[in-house]
Symmetry: C2
Subunit: 401 residues, 2 copies
């Protein structure tokens, strides 16, 4: 109904089975999942619920609100309604005969108070953090997940082509962002980008024209932009877009919970040669890294390759941030959260695997002047990489100028 | 520059002084603030930083990224750059000569792991949760804060009037939402609504036409709507808007971090008499509650008054949700977070105070058919209440129909 697609039951079953393998491998008797994207990944619903996954045996889905909707959407067989989390231990005892000796929880995101409540409810269980297990699992996407991300990539292409058509000199960055948002919404974009973090928050309208691109902010990115106020000090601002300015358009799309991220340079009128040259350099870094991506390569290898090409291109001083304020990553995993694993970063030692998806975003910051960059979301294949963002790799010139 | 307004230093000073009074009253030696909206409230910046507030003496602002931007925006006098949170204890020792014996942290939102790191860094301090102190303080707004919310209310009015002009039969809810979003962005809306919660997330496009209004979802609201997918199962959907359907438009606005929330009914063509009658009933509840609001009255008194008027209007069965699935609140505090205190709810015993702001939203759910309601954001005055959302209290009919 109305393009509201459920997650296939088979998909949910495979995800739970993979998690159970990891639990057995780590000798953890059971896990309880509470955070919304973890629960969505493992059940297929965002309705308020808890998922109990033992290392062996069937999982139990405890649904608080809305039960009927959650029961319809969940791919888990055993579903019980609960009115409050206090009923969880009794429900587990009823279905499994006992409470687990070791219980995994999401230590990276569960608030301290929530953890304390769980510690009281499971006072005879040894609690441990199992988020890393699921995050590693989630980093490798299934064909079903990749197909959704490709669909999001096609929506992104339409949104960017629309942006090119409506971009005009004198528009503010935020008004331009709003027009792209309207188009994205009309195409089914879910509006929010999700990030696993207490203090970071994601947004789709990272649109920085001219000098805005040269402004650093709190986010872990080479540039943050001015934003609208100290309470939202990132992304599009009220600055008017002028002719010949490089405009960095970094606008993510979310469909069925899955995100893609991409960046292209826009310009009203001709882009000055100096910026074109920098753009070509950054594209060379982009392609060098993508050309070297394959299973077994580590995030840090790709990160270092980027630094090397930047040096050859003689742009090291402005690569990944202004001097003294550089970030130590050039790409990030993406999927249900915009900071999924893997991290294409200085310190990431994990070898890439087939099915991993990440956004690669080499960027340059000319402090106080502009940002130049490119970004695509890709999936690691058997012997290389495939782009999920089919957008033309070029500078987008405003139509009618 | 570009309408980017800093928080006045005087405002920050008063906020810190009020918090220090509360710390002394509760005999807590010091507090460390980490969560973004708490830090923004107490410093004036969202740049990545930590604020140490002793019960006596000057606060210390430890700024990680971006230091120069944070230092410029912060209203705190003592500012030091840090590269990592590990440097916090040493910085406190350097400025105060010792670490505090009791230290308050945000137990409701700090992730378990983060709390553990703090417990190790302050291994000789007794840690306690001080979020309730600041949340109570934040519930009472200053004239400066109220003025920003009024400005957001005026933006909301323009967005709703624009919505009336562009609404057409056959538009999908989400496309209509996108057009309102574009207008809101052009007027400076900061795009995100913020909610203090692990699993709840806020969004501005709660636009439900006809049957969508009769659908319950996971959120703590009388109705959730269908949404776009099980991964975003709330708010506007791909359902096309039809003539004579009641359309609930609940679209929040955020300016300089401060939010307002409001709801009006829209319709393409004439609204059938049955819905008009229900709308008039709900407006009577709205005005009865607002008429009784003044300092000293408790949230639960207002909630109960709503139930009583609903009974007189013979709409108890559909008031605040369908039978068996009703919410136990009729309004919520609002400000930097959309679940600020006070809660106009069954169990809220706290007497209202002058300067408190809340959104009042009595709503009806006709299961499988429609939602009817109204919502305004108000501030409690010396002897009553003042509306911050100047929107006409009527049904908005699509222009040109």
């Amino acid at each position: 109904m109305h393009g509201y697609h459920l997650v296939p039951k088979k998909e949910v079953r495979q995800r739970v089975a993979r998690l159970q393998e990891a639990l057995r491998e780590h000798r953890i008797e059971a896990s309880l999942w509470i955070q919304k994207m973890d629960v969505f990944y493992l059940t297929g619903t965002l309705q308020r619920s808890y998922l109990f996954v033992p290392a062996n045996g069937d999982p139990l889905h405890l649904i608080k609100k809305d039960f009927s909707r959650g029961a319809r959407e969940s791919g888990i067989d055993r579903k019980v309604p609960i009115r409050s989390r206090k009923e969880i231990p009794a429900a587990i005892r009823e279905h499994y005969g006992k409470l687990p000796a070791t219980l995994g929880l999401e230590g990276d995101v569960l608030p301290f108070q929530e953890w304390q409540v769980m510690a009281e409810m499971f006072s005879n269980s040894r609690l441990m953090d199992v988020s890393p297990l699921l995050l590693r699992q989630r980093s490798v996407k299934s064909p079903y997940e990749i197909a959704i991300m490709e669909k999001a990539g096609r929506v992104g292409r339409q949104v960017y082509e629309h942006g090119r058509k409506i971009l005009k000199e004198g528009m503010t960055e935020i008004a331009f962002a709003g027009e792209m948002m309207a188009k994205a919404f009309a195409l089914g974009h879910e509006g929010l980008l999700r990030m696993r973090s207490l203090n970071d928050e994601s947004y789709c309208w990272h649109i920085l024209s001219g000098a805005s691109g040269g402004i650093v902010s709190y986010i872990n990115a080479p540039m943050g932009g001015l934003g609208l106020s100290p309470a939202f000090p990132v992304g599009a601002s009220r600055k008017a877009i002028r002719r010949h300015e490089p405009i960095m358009v970094d606008f993510g799309i979310c469909l069925q919970g899955y995100q893609i991220d991409e960046t292209r340079m826009f310009c009203v009128g001709a882009l000055p040669k100096r910026y074109w040259d920098l753009y070509r350099s950054i594209v060379r870094i982009h392609h060098a890294i993508l050309g070297a991506t394959r299973p077994g390569v580590r995030g840090r290898d790709l990160f270092e390759m980027g630094l090397e090409v930047a040096e050859k291109e003689r742009i090291s001083d402005i690569y990944l941030g202004p001097p003294g304020n550089k970030v130590s990553f050039v790409g990030h995993g993406i999927g249900l959260e915009i900071n999924d694993l893997p991290f294409i970063a200085k310190r990431d030692e994990t070898p890439l695997k087939e099915g991993m998806t990440f956004a690669l975003e080499p960027k340059l910051v000319l402090e106080g002047e502009a940002a130049i960059g490119i970004e695509d979301t890709v999936v690691v294949t058997r012997d290389g990489v495939r782009r999920l963002t089919p957008l033309r790799q070029t500078v987008f010139h405003a139509a009618g100028h």
